[in-house]
């Protein structure tokens, strides 16, 4: 009972710890319950324990995360009443919940938006605790429990997306397993354990279901229990003042003195918690009413390649990172990056548990949070744009050159070129008239910057530019006539005002001069190309084709 007595002595004022004396039958019932539950002895002192007067609106994020968790548990249990965790029925059961059951649409919506809210809140709470140095003495262990909760929540988000069992789910599992497989030595085994086999199928979904509804939530209940116990035992951290340096020798003494002038947790501090949780809950419910649950999309089908898999929003930055880093550091980033973040979070309260807590005195802490937030925002934007991905129409077919452009073309050669721009897939990565992909530069004004031979050379040999700018060599795919048609077409495309972000044309470094070994061409193609470039001139394309025929 040291927990209680700790708080009783300096903290709870006379009026608060006195037994409640209620009149009449209500009092009789209360006394009967109190005698059996220990309300006055244990429960009320915890509820009304004093917290520092400096607690404020930044202290509501943790309790709001807990509220979101409770929302998730309740709606999750109701979804589980109907959801069938078998691959041949999961998707259909969600369709049934969404379309046929009463309010199923709303319950899926709350679970979906509640998940987003919980993730946002726990990220914000973690950042707040870090920025105000609340993880320092004596709250180091509570930070560790919080780190466990943070990673559990991310795991819940990831596994939750998989249970929809649509195309995004299926490919997220495959991509996740391939990443796990990059772990040194045990990679392939990890991947097999993750998908519960060597292919994603019958056993995979039930594994993820059990992880999502039993294993991780069970762990989270335990972690939350410990987290709350420590919040009560060590008390809510006071708002940091630059002058107050944390020193394990004096901290507790000072904190207890602070509490003499504290305010009771219930109802004073809790009112803020309740108001904020109510606000967050209303936002979640409104989003659920108007937008419903996670889009169902297409049923998981490994044989259906017409798909554009993307992870749930909180992992999209990581998805973007994987597209933009050079292949040489990929393995290090895939395994090392999450590992470093986790190790740093686990080590933090041990190497930095003393000293300043105030953000104004900790520029490194503030700076790193700002930089992390900025990088995440930029990567999320990139992830949604996916400039590196070739663009197709909704059915997975190649886009067409806008008719407005085609109708203005003169001559059959240019018209054939427009057709080719579509069918040879140029448009998947290059725009004309604001239609097309953005992996490569828009080509409306290519001939203002490229000479004809330079153009042929680029098309024939491709080349690697910065980051994801990486053009295949079309020298063996398009013959001289076709390249000439493309050139004729692009010469007639009028220059347009860019409405979408455009990669500068000169950013792509072409295989200028001799094509180096190690490029994507076969040795034979490379020889032919080098000879033709050496001969040079406007006949590069003709030379290439002749060369391919008689190497």
């Amino acid at each position: 009972m040291s927990v209680i007595s700790d708080f009783e002595q300096p903290n709870v004022t006379q009026s608060e710890s006195r037994p409640l004396e209620l009149p009449g039958p209500v009092g009789a019932v209360y006394n009967w319950l109190d005698d059996r539950l220990g309300i006055d002895a244990v429960i009320r002192p915890i509820l009304v324990h004093p917290v520092p007067r400096s607690t404020n609106w930044f202290n509501v994020l943790g309790s709001a995360t807990l509220t979101a968790f409770i929302f998730q548990v309740v709606t999750g249990v109701f979804l589980a009443l109907v959801y069938v965790p078998a691959p041949n029925a999961a998707y259909q059961s969600l369709q049934w919940i969404t379309d046929k059951s009463l309010f199923g649409h709303l319950i899926r919506g709350i679970h979906y938006w509640g998940a987003s809210a919980m993730l946002l809140l726990i990220f914000a709470h973690t950042a707040r605790v870090f920025l105000t140095g609340s993880y320092k003495y004596p709250r180091e262990l509570n930070w560790l429990l919080g780190v466990g909760l943070l990673f559990s929540t991310i795991l819940m988000g990831f596994t939750g997306q998989l249970l929809v069992w649509n195309q995004d789910s299926y490919w997220a599992i495959v991509v996740g397993a391939e990443q796990a497989a990059r772990t040194p030595v045990i990679g392939p085994w990890l991947a097999q354990l993750l998908v519960a086999g060597q292919v994603v199928g019958g056993a995979t979904l039930t594994h993820f279901f059990a992880i999502h509804v039993f294993i991780v939530p069970g762990l989270m209940f335990a972690l939350i229990g410990g987290h709350l116990y420590l919040v009560i035992y060590q008390g809510i951290s006071e708002w940091p003042e630059p002058s107050n340096i944390v020193d394990p020798k004096t901290y507790k003494q000072r904190y207890h003195e602070l509490l003499e002038d504290g305010i009771p947790f219930f109802p004073d501090a809790m009112a803020k918690d309740a108001l904020f949780a109510l606000f967050a809950g209303v936002v979640v419910i409104l989003l659920a009413v108007f937008f419903g649950g996670a889009p169902l999309g297409h049923k998981a089908d490994p044989a259906n390649y017409v798909t554009n898999p993307r992870p749930f929003w909180f992992l999209i930055w990581y998805f973007a990172l994987l597209a933009e880093i050079p292949a040489s550091v990929e393995n290090i980033v895939i395994i090392g990056f999450p590992a470093v973040i986790m190790l740093w979070m686990l080590a933090l309260p041990f190497y930095a548990n003393k000293g300043e807590r105030a953000p104004s005195k900790r520029p490194w802490a503030v700076g790193s949070v700002l930089i992390a937030a900025l990088m995440t925002a930029v990567l999320c934007y990139e992830g949604y744009q996916s400039p590196w991905a070739p663009r197709f129409d909704a059915n997975g077919n190649l886009l067409s050159v806008p008719t407005a452009v085609v109708s203005r073309l003169k001559g059959s050669q240019a018209k054939a070129g427009a057709q080719l721009f579509h069918s040879a897939g140029c448009i998947a990565c290059h725009m004309v008239d604001n239609v097309g992909g953005i992996r490569g530069p828009a080509l409306d004004d290519v001939f203002q910057q490229y000479s004809l031979p330079r153009f042929y050379q680029q098309v024939a040999a491709g080349g690697k530019g910065a980051s994801y700018q990486y053009m295949p060599a079309f020298g063996t795919i398009l013959d001289a006539t076709k390249m000439a048609e493309l050139a004729a077409f692009l010469k007639q495309v009028p220059r347009v005002e860019r409405t979408v972000h455009n990669n500068a044309l000169h950013a792509a470094k072409p295989a200028r001069g001799p094509v180096a070994a190690g490029s994507t061409l076969t040795p034979l193609q490379r020889r032919v190309l080098n000879r033709c470039i050496a001969e040079g001139g406007a006949h590069l394309a003709t030379c290439l084709i002749a060369g391919n025929r008689h190497p």
Partner: protein, 169 residues
């Protein structure tokens, strides 16, 4: 509490003895239950997917020089696997009797590559890798060529040998 004789002649206190029993009993119970549980979890490691030949169609239904998607059922699929028991591959007829089959999984991180006949490239929707018709990398981030699946012709039918997801299997 009078001390009692320990197992090896040491004198240990009653508290220590009882604590030892509790911890020891707990440990034994943990091992007895834990070993089968862990083994049960590791089942997938001991049950590799069988590699079987799957019929994907008659030779005559593929035109020479074209690449088409073929579908077959995965041999390791459980009865309740639904659509996920399907598997896809890209099959090209090179000549009268020559076929090449490519796994649908991108060698970067496994998204499904998409053959576009008119461009002569396989494209990946996730991070934009491209592969030539030979399977060689045409554009990153992938670094390895597409995985080939064994193909054979038996009695006028094309057959593909199934393979687990590359890297994982």
């Amino acid at each position: 509490m009078p001390p009692i004789k320990g197992l090896f002649g040491d004198r240990i206190s009653r508290e220590l003895f009882l604590t030892g029993i509790i911890v020891g009993y707990g440990g034994i119970a943990g091992v007895v239950v834990g070993v089968p549980l862990v083994a049960y979890l590791l089942t997938p490691l001991f049950k590799p997917s069988p590699r079987l030949w799957r019929d994907v169609g008659a030779v005559s239904q593929f035109k020479i020089g074209t690449t088409t998607e073929v579908r077959y059922s995965d041999p390791s699929a459980l009865r309740w696997a639904g659509t996920t028991s399907r598997a896809g591959a890209w099959l090209r007829r090179d000549s009268q009797s020559g076929f090449t089959a490519y796994s649908i999984y991108c060698t970067h991180l496994g998204c499904p590559v998409h053959w576009i006949q008119s461009t002569g490239l396989f494209l990946c929707p996730c991070h934009g890798s491209a592969f030539y018709s030979t399977g060689a990398v045409a554009a990153g981030p992938a670094e390895l060529p597409l995985v080939k699946l064994p193909v054979r012709v038996r009695g006028g039918r094309v057959q593909i040998q199934t393979k687990p997801i590359p890297v994982i299997g």
